[in-house]
């Protein structure tokens, strides 16, 4: 049981990271469906940089940097030029899939080998405690980073002036503008923050979970992160719960499979997506999206429509 929960927490970490980023983006009124592509680019950049340098830290930096490039593209098109956010996000996903596929072949013509990883080891002493020890303290750096960021985002949104401004932009951009808030700048900043966290989340896949990059390896995790935001009702603590739920579902998938439960393999692979859809359909009600979510803001535009 302990091992199952531990796996659940580990698998939840990248989802939580990406979802926290997307939460800040959405609370500023922007939907970024390009999370998937940003994670993919992060996973590849982390893998390539860590393999080349031998340093996982450089890998993480490269992941964040590469995802920020995509974030800047998204901000330019979807926020500054006010193109449709869904369309721009979709374009970035395709772009990321092609660019990482090409990059993989160019950087590793003879096939990729394992990259050095970020420590999975837990805290000393505390991790040895019985029962809760491994669960709480036996986790790697990524889990701790995700939890710390969750607390930080919660405090930022609820307790800081900047957080209030960001929420105002997401709820009612025009009113915020009238108060002198630079709407576009706030949204661009949020998008870049979301991109950085998506890149960080991608680096988990190649530096902590599989240590090798394969084409399209995010396999929908970015979209599941979008669902985590909805299921978590746009609140940091809700996101934590939702990410743990999906982590547990994935961990169960591996566990049942290892136990040799007589279900065909593809049915196991279908599991996380089916669960996600079921959750959206039957359990995600009640959350309220930010008022101006997905609406480009143009100063000269008339109200309504």
């Amino acid at each position: 049981m302990d091992a199952l929960l531990e796996a659940a927490v580990r698998l939840a970490a990248p989802l939580l990271l990406a979802a926290l980023g997307e939460l800040v983006v959405e609370r500023a009124g922007v939907v970024n469906v390009g999370v998937e592509g940003m994670m993919l680019v992060g996973a590849f950049a982390a893998f390539a940089a860590a393999s080349a340098s031998g340093s996982p830290a450089l890998g993480v930096a490269a992941a964040v940097g590469a995802a920020l490039l995509l974030g800047a593209l998204f901000a330019g098109f979807a926020v500054l030029a006010r193109a449709d956010q869904i369309v721009v996000g979709t374009a970035l996903n395709l772009l990321a899939l092609g660019a990482t596929g090409l990059g993989l072949r160019a950087a590793f013509p003879d096939g990729a080998s394992a990259a050095p990883g970020v420590s999975d080891g837990g805290l000393p002493v505390l991790g040895e405690l019985p029962l809760l020890g491994p669960l709480l303290f036996g986790q790697g750096l990524y889990v701790w980073t995700a939890l710390a960021l969750c607390a930080a985002v919660a405090l930022f949104l609820a307790r800081t002036r900047a957080g209030l401004v960001l929420r105002a932009v997401g709820e009612a951009a025009r009113a915020a503008d009238a108060e002198g808030v630079p709407v576009a700048a706030v949204r661009c900043g949020a998008v870049l923050f979301g991109a950085a966290l998506a890149g960080l989340a991608g680096s988990v896949l190649t530096l902590s979970q599989s240590h090798v990059f394969t084409e399209g390896m995010t396999a929908g995790r970015g979209f599941i992160a979008l669902t985590v935001v909805i299921f978590g009702r746009w609140r940091p603590l809700g996101l934590l719960g939702a990410a743990l739920f999906f982590g547990l579902a994935s961990a169960l998938q591996f566990r049942l499979q290892a136990r040799g439960v007589a279900l065909p393999y593809p049915v196991f692979l279908m599991f996380p997506y089916a669960i996600t859809l079921a959750v959206l359909a039957f359990a995600a009600g009640g959350g309220r999206a930010p008022g101006d979510l997905g609406r480009p803001y143009a100063r000269e535009a008339r109200e309504g429509g």
Binding site: V87, V88, L94, G98, A99, E215, Y265, Y273, L277
Partner: protein
């Protein structure tokens, strides 16, 4: 815009061409910068898509499914519904058609079996589209997320089917039995009737959108949902209808693919037609007739990319870069038009 001169209109029509050319040039530059042989790549690309009758055949065979899925995306987007699920809908069509041909009615004559496959594939995918529409209308689930999740689910459903209930009798490979001869679409050379039907579908969708009351309502909902609601047109119900029709188009593409090209169902049946379809539709600015040249462009690109991978060792996934850039440039041009 009503006062645009003929020259202005011609210039506007050229913008998608410029977008496509710029995307190709940019992808070529990236390929070259990464140290791949760019010139050889370009040669393979052109030779593999337009250089011979075999190349043209390959291009047309890729154009067929891109045309149908592109129409699927264009019709849904026009109604303000983000159908990112053409890939899953195509697979649902292929799955249903294979089941009908190899399990339900394998002995039926062609006159019965072919319409059954096409309609069955379209109906299965229409149901899948309608499911996403219902989730949106009744449960408030964003169709962007639900259609994407359904793509992943359908990919695994096909994987399961070809290892389980639809696997070939010999059990040797994870694939279905070959479709009976009566289930194979008639073809000219290798170009099957489904390709021709895809062109007909473009005209049919144009007629539906611009000449029928339903098409008017679909466009009204996409253009001004609030005004449409005031006029008594339900955006939710028309969203369901748009996704069902979009699903049917993509599902037909899947049925034609197994009945006209592969002859069997297996994993990896589609190289991502349903995702390329988004670029096809946006390059065509969501106009059903403009989807024809757009699908031909991306069809040629897909066919050429195959040759590029074989001859110049450049992964075919490079085409995704072109698709992404085309979409970005298309929305860029659309903005220019809006503000101009």
């Amino acid at each position: 815009m009503s006062g645009a001169s003929a020259a202005e209109r011609a210039l506007r029509a050229l913008r998608p061409v410029a977008a496509a050319a710029a995307a190709l040039a940019l992808a070529g530059a990236v390929i070259g910068a990464l140290g791949f042989p760019a010139t050889a790549a370009l040669q393979s690309l052109v030779r593999g898509s337009l250089g011979s009758s075999a190349a043209w055949t390959a291009t047309l065979l890729k154009t067929g499914p891109l045309l149908l899925t592109g129409l699927s995306v264009a019709l849904a987007f026009r109604c303000g519904v983000w159908n990112i699920g053409a890939e899953g809908q195509l697979l649902a069509g292929a799955l249903a058609a294979t089941m009908l041909a190899t399990r339900v009615a394998p002995g039926a004559p062609a006159a019965l079996l072919l319409p059954l496959l096409a309609l069955g594939g379209a109906a299965a995918a229409a149901a899948l589209g309608a499911l996403a529409g219902w989730l949106r209308a009744a449960r408030g689930v964003s169709e962007v997320i639900s259609t994407i999740l359904l793509n992943f689910i359908l990919i695994q459903a096909v994987a399961w089917a070809v290892q389980g209930p639809l696997q070939e009798a010999s059990g040797a490979y994870p694939q279905s039995d070959a479709l009976p001869a009566a289930a194979r679409l008639p073809a000219l050379g290798r170009v099957h009737a489904g390709v021709a039907l895809a062109f007909v579908a473009a005209a049919a969708v144009a007629w539906l959108l611009f000449r029928t009351p339903l098409g008017f309502r679909l466009r009204a909902v996409g253009h001004a949902p609030v005004a449409a609601r005031f006029a008594g047109i339900s955006p939710e119900r028309h969203g369901v209808a748009a996704l069902a029709i979009a699903g049917a188009l993509a599902g037909a593409a899947g049925a034609f693919e197994v009945a006209g090209v592969t002859g069997r169902l297996y994993q990896g049946l589609s190289p991502g037609y349903g995702y390329t379809a988004i670029a096809v539709a946006l390059l065509a600015r969501l106009h059903p007739l403009a989807v024809i040249p757009s699908a031909l462009f991306f069809g040629a690109l897909e066919a050429g990319a195959g040759a590029m991978q074989r001859e110049a060792g450049i992964p075919a996934v490079a085409t995704e870069v072109v698709q992404g850039v085309v979409i970005l440039l298309s929305v860029g041009f659309a903005l220019q038009r809006r503000s101009g």
